[in-house]
């Protein structure tokens, strides 16, 4: 509820930080609801819904509200956002099925975890470099 309220407030006052905080709170609320429970089979659906809300929220924050957007551009954007949401549901379901499969190998998961961290860091570094190059 708090996350939704913060998200709504962010859209009203047009602040990206509030929207991000709202989405993070919503995700945190979902995470807290998982405490003491097993694997949630609806996680991919929730992820799809969350990313759809995020896409729409950041789309609403974009400047140029007074600009009359051509219908083709709006349709193209809506199609992309919808595709991302659907892909999230699909890939999430795939990941859930992989995770729920009885596979042994704690070390393998540890390596996978390290690889995920490394990938995240690589994305972050790439992002910072890209921004730095663009601002020159």
């Amino acid at each position: 509820m708090a996350g939704t309220a913060l998200l709504a407030a962010g859209l009203v006052v047009r602040r990206g930080a509030l929207v991000t905080a709202g989405l993070a709170l919503v995700g945190t609320g979902y995470g807290l609801s998982l405490v003491g429970k097993g694997l949630d089979p609806a996680a991919s659906l929730f992820a799809g819904g969350l990313v759809a809300v995020a896409e729409l929220a950041y789309w609403a924050l974009e400047p140029g509200a007074a600009v009359r957007i051509r219908r083709s551009a709006t349709a193209s954007r809506a199609l992309l956002s919808g595709s991302i949401a659907l892909a999230t549901v699909f890939i999430g379901a795939l990941l859930l099925s992989v995770v729920s499969a009885p596979v042994r190998g704690g070390a393998a998961f540890g390596v996978l975890g390290v690889a995920a961290i490394a990938a995240t860091l690589a994305v972050a570094v790439g992002l910072m470099r890209s921004l730095h190059d663009g601002n020159r």
Partner: protein, 423 residues
């Protein structure tokens, strides 16, 4: 193009990092699944975001129009790469009126050309810079915005819509050039002036045989030659009264354009003198080219605030030829203009003034002190008019919205009965 990150970029990066770390730290795959799409969009966005290649060009349907006419500005876009979302906005010049949209959002395919039309109307004369365009292109995932501003490349000249005048103020004296006016001097012409005795060199065709028969000696006709006159139009640019978008300077410019056209159609010489914070002039000349020069010079007329005391001595002699009519269009708000006209009259110049009434552009205050001040100000103005009339300078008030011809007729009427005295 300058690149900037949108709030979505920071937001997605934060959510991805938060979800991934939380998922790994707590050992919950669901949180990783929540964070995965954000990380994926980030990676795809970084990989595919490139500086768009877009050519923007603005052209106007017309470079010269009259007041109130409509102009179409066409924005030509050519994309060398696909643009998912592009926002284009044309800066609307001040005082221009927009008919329709000046901002557009669209997408362009690779190599696509598109034209966007913006209709503008210009109710006031002047020179306008048109063509400043702002462009913002977003990448496919909305993570980056590429912005560019193209400077205005076209100048639109809006000319004053002049009133067609049938009557104007006639100068007292003519110039030595051929024109449409009957001069006071005697010489060769059409209008009969006088008879005089024959002198060696006179042509036989000029002999008045009836008078010769009556007098018994050869008598020839003398005529009034046709000459032109010279008028210098003086525009007061010291100060103006303005209410909103219209003011006394706008009236003065329109009247000057109308008068210049009327005098030049009669084959008179017309000069222009913009007297104010800056002094600009055009020497008197004839013809259509002079009309274009005067109208172009009027477009640059503006009020320039200055505390420098200018008097008539700063005007060069060739800008104000002898025996030319000096017709001032002034709101008589600045003492320097009043002084210059009085000084010019004192030096023997043929001076007349059209007083562009500032009262319609001034709102008197509501308090008793404001009302008193307003009445005193009006009395001061009446005193100035009275001073001019005592000097033989006609000053006739012209209110906004009234036609100019009756005012000019009143000026001419005053001049008929108040002959100038030499200094």
């Amino acid at each position: 193009m300058t690149r900037a990150a949108t709030p979505k970029l920071a937001g997605y990066a934060s959510l991805a990092a938060l979800g991934l770390f939380a998922g790994i730290a707590l050992g919950r795959a669901e949180l990783v699944i929540l964070a995965a799409p954000f990380a994926l969009v980030l990676m795809l966005g970084l990989a595919t975001a490139g500086v768009p290649d877009l050519a923007v060009h603005v052209q106007l349907s017309n470079g010269r129009v009259l007041e109130g006419d409509e102009v179409q500005a066409t924005i030509d876009l050519k994309a060398a790469s696909r643009l998912e979302r592009l926002e284009v906005a044309l800066a609307v010049p001040r005082d221009a009126e927009l008919d329709g949209d000046a901002s557009f959002g669209l997408s362009l395919a690779d190599g696509e050309e598109r034209q966007l039309a913006v209709r503008l109307r210009f109710p006031l004369w002047g020179a306008y810079s048109v063509g400043r365009v702002g462009v913002a292109a977003f990448d496919r995932f909305g993570l980056f915005v590429f912005e560019r501003e193209a400077a205005a490349g076209s100048t639109l000249r809006v000319y004053p819509r002049e009133e067609r005048l049938r009557e104007i103020v006639r100068p007292h004296e003519t110039q030595p050039y051929v024109g449409n006016l009957v001069a006071r001097q005697k010489g060769e012409g059409i209008e009969f002036a006088d008879l005089r005795p024959y002198q060696p060199g006179d042509r036989v065709r000029r002999v008045n045989w009836k008078a010769t028969a009556r007098r018994g000696t050869l008598v020839v006709n003398e005529e009034h030659p046709e000459r032109n006159a010279a008028a210098v139009l003086l525009v007061d640019s010291f100060a103006e009264a303005r209410l909103g978008a219209v003011g006394t300077l706008d009236q003065a410019v329109r009247a000057t354009a109308a008068l210049a056209d009327a005098y030049l159609r009669r084959r008179d010489q017309v000069g222009l003198l913009s007297f104010g914070g800056t002094v600009n002039w055009l020497e008197p000349a004839m013809g259509t080219v002079q009309l274009y020069r005067i109208v172009e010079a009027l477009l640059d007329t503006e009020i320039v605030l200055s505390y420098v005391w200018h008097d008539i001595r700063v005007i060069p002699a060739h800008a104000l030829p002898p025996q030319a009519l000096l017709l001032a269009l002034t709101p008589l708000l600045d003492e320097r203009m009043v002084g210059a006209l009085v000084d010019g009259r004192g030096r023997g110049a043929d001076v007349a003034a059209v007083e562009i009434a500032p009262e319609p552009f001034i709102q008197a205050g509501g308090s008793k002190a404001d009302e008193l001040a307003y009445r005193i100000w009006k009395l001061q103005r009446a005193a100035v008019r009275s001073r001019f009339r005592r000097l033989g300078v006609p000053v006739v008030e012209w209110r906004s919205g009234d036609p100019l011809e009756p005012v000019l007729e009143e000026v001419s009427s005053f001049r008929r009965y108040a002959r100038p005295t030499r200094a």
